[in-house]
Symmetry: C2
Subunit: 245 residues, 2 copies
């Protein structure tokens, strides 16, 4: 079933009005009058609707059922990823949304080749936010995870450390596997953060900063994972251990 996200002001008594990019999307999908579609308010409520006619730039959908979204995970997990090169950020955003991340945050680290500042950062963030929305539609999410860009490593650590279970994925970590905290505390934690490096990983002083801020340094196996693979592997582990798989 095709799925749309709308803002609250589009939801009326008994019907929903699609406009803007949603209308374009509706047109591209060649949805016919009478077809059933799903609409989410992006805040956890789903509406099952019957498509009406496309008139000009708007489509009216008649609500036949309203229900709480069943697809949101019970854990609030944020992915903090150091800026990668090329289009890897898009992969991280798309797959993290599918796998149930609540938000994705990009930040700079010492070994990042890419830098993101000013107008370029705003433009990229906007593009990543659209990717997040498309992935949320496709995977049936009840919210559109937010994509953010931070301009300081320290700020990212500070925010990530605020989660109940703040995981810092570090290649130099040889004693603690991500399995330990997840098996011990996975069933009870409500908020998790996953912080991963760029192509070259983290510098030792960055790992120290994360530990000093209260983050848990963990390893994710002996294979060297690409920077876009590590957050997805960790997110899968988190979803498994918090009963969201």
């Amino acid at each position: 079933m095709h799925r749309f996200f709308v803002t609250r002001d589009s939801i009326h008594d008994g019907f929903i009005v699609l406009s803007g990019r949603n209308t374009e999307h509706f047109r591209v999908l060649r949805i016919r009058q009478g077809e059933t579609v799903e609409v989410s308010d992006g805040e956890g409520t789903d509406y099952i609707c019957i498509a009406g006619e496309l008139i000009g730039r708007e489509v009216r959908l008649n609500i036949v059922e309203k229900r709480a979204s069943e697809r949101e995970p019970s854990v609030i997990c944020t992915v903090y990823a150091a800026f990668p090169k090329g289009d890897k950020a898009e992969t991280i955003v798309q797959k993290s949304v599918e796998l149930g991340a609540n938000a994705i945050v990009f930040f700079p680290s010492r070994r990042c080749v890419s830098r993101l500042n000013g107008a370029a950062a705003v433009k990229k963030r906007d593009r990543w936010q659209i990717i997040a929305e498309e992935a949320a539609k496709q995977s049936g999410r009840g919210i559109i995870p937010r994509v953010d860009v931070l301009n300081k490593f320290d700020l990212a650590v500070e925010k990530a450390a605020g989660a109940e279970l703040p995981l810092f994925l570090y290649e130099g970590e040889t004693s603690t596997s991500i399995k330990k905290p997840l098996f011990e505390r996975g069933e009870s934690v409500k908020t998790v953060s996953i912080m991963t490096g760029s192509e070259g990983g983290f510098e030792p002083h960055e790992a120290q900063k994360a530990k000093d801020a209260g983050m848990l340094s963990v390893s994710i196996g002996k294979r060297i994972l690409r920077c876009e693979t590590a957050p997805l592997a960790a997110l899968s582990a988190v979803m498994l251990c918090t009963n969201n798989f």
Copy 2:
């Protein structure tokens, strides 16, 4: 450290000879004489070598240390993926190798849009095998996982069912999460198979065939995962629960 895979006949007493594509790669990487490189025999043994001069189409590397590869997972896990559209097969191969799969097998299923037969299948398989080799080098694997193409769904089920823990990822499965068998038996299993569908998932009669063959039908969460994401999420879960993360 740069890593190469060679066949046994390239390994001599005290030195290794790189040739063919390995020499090309050596040249592209601009490796200098005296630099340390790692060579794997693809069967679990690593050689630490000092690079010699590139002469014509060959490079001689002097062995300084021989040791068992430390990066191979203890579990033998094979990924069986239904033919996806476009370049998603490449993503599945690359990421599965990084995450520790022992082999990747593509097969047809009812809802596959793509078909792979005859010469096209051979050509694609060869290309995927090269991707597997590159990923094995990059991630530091001790073997090059093999990529295979089967032309029958039934044959794929028969082979997959041969593993100690044969997991069939099915969207229609609502009662058993992948967590259950992995938490119960993950620590002791030696061989696992993961079977995943194409864009449209599996047909109910295919799921029935898999169950009849002894496979375990499992779900992997309420979000709808793309066909290239599901095997990687499942593989991450397997590696976590078998102590390979």
